[in-house]
Symmetry: C3
Subunit: 139 residues, 3 copies
């Protein structure tokens, strides 16, 4: 059994989806991983990880707008407001989506659908340095 770890750092600038599918694919190629599981976890609770459509960029705009309406940046709604109007909504959006994904690798290939991409979903307004842990377990 082989295990490898990698800390992927992504600097974000505002509420947006940041794709990192290629970074994942390159890491798999570099290490010649054959069959195994790739566990991806974000080390924060105000940003999340999602697998979404990578074809029409409007899907991402609609997603961001939808989550913004679902969890309004209105400080009257929350007790935890000291870190800014976007902080508590960010924690809630993180709870609604995911902070961890496990993906399967078969014969050196990441098993994703044709239209699937892997994204960091940033919920904070200001610039952030985000750490995502990649962990491979396989042979």
């Amino acid at each position: 059994m082989i295990q490898e770890f990698f800390k992927l750092e992504i600097t974000t600038n505002g509420l947006r989806l940041y794709e990192f599918t290629n970074e994942i694919i390159n890491w798999i190629k570099l290490n010649k991983f054959k069959n195994g599981l790739l566990n991806i976890s974000i080390q924060h609770t105000s940003a999340s990880l999602i697998v979404q459509e990578n074809a029409d960029p409007d899907v991402q705009v609609d997603l961001i707008n939808y989550f913004d309406k679902l969890v309004p940046m209105n400080s009257d709604l929350y007790i935890h407001t000291a870190e800014g109007k976007d902080d508590m909504p960010a924690h809630i959006k993180s709870a609604i989506t995911n902070n961890q994904i496990s993906l399967s690798i078969k014969e050196n290939k990441l098993l994703l659908g044709t239209w699937q991409g892997i994204y960091l979903f940033e919920h904070r307004i200001n610039q952030q340095n985000r750490i995502i842990v990649l962990h491979y377990l396989g042979n």
Copy 2:
């Protein structure tokens, strides 16, 4: 360490939960998997995977109705509308739920609670052929 993969295909016909717990249990039995992890991932972004109550079918009706109200099929709300009024809501429902689950197997038995079933949650109206990847890693 043993690894096995299987492509499970499910044809769906509209917004509904499609149970595939038995397909999973049969695959475990067939392969005599003893102790390990089963990673289940759906290769689409307009349908999702959820573990839900398998006792009262009304729970599923309520779930579908709730998500329908939470993410309305109203094209005025979205930019991405070219693929039909149900497409963008389907992507959002997929982001709110899950596209991947990892389940544990101990002594040939899938560790699920008494009332838990595994479901494909279809968010598109028209017939779809859905691919779910099963990946076992264990001994």
Copy 3:
């Protein structure tokens, strides 16, 4: 490859987040797990597992209040009402959040961010005995 399983039991008393990060860390220490994956799954569909901020307890209060408004305990909204006004909302909250998380362990250390804690999110009003399965797979 080493595998270990543990059934963690948590008695809950109402809608709240119950932290069990220390129970996880202690189990890792006790077993001297080095590098591997820890799969955590809750065996119920009316409570969930989330990774959330462990610094300001107000975050948890806001989370509970938000989910309560998002999924109202109003029996007029649901068909499945026989198990109490909180039961169907509990299933929906479970579908919106997660019932399973996989965490990575590297050099005997659980890879969590500085402000991340692991919580059982209880969605039922009355006292419940919850079972969470811990499953380690690594070396």
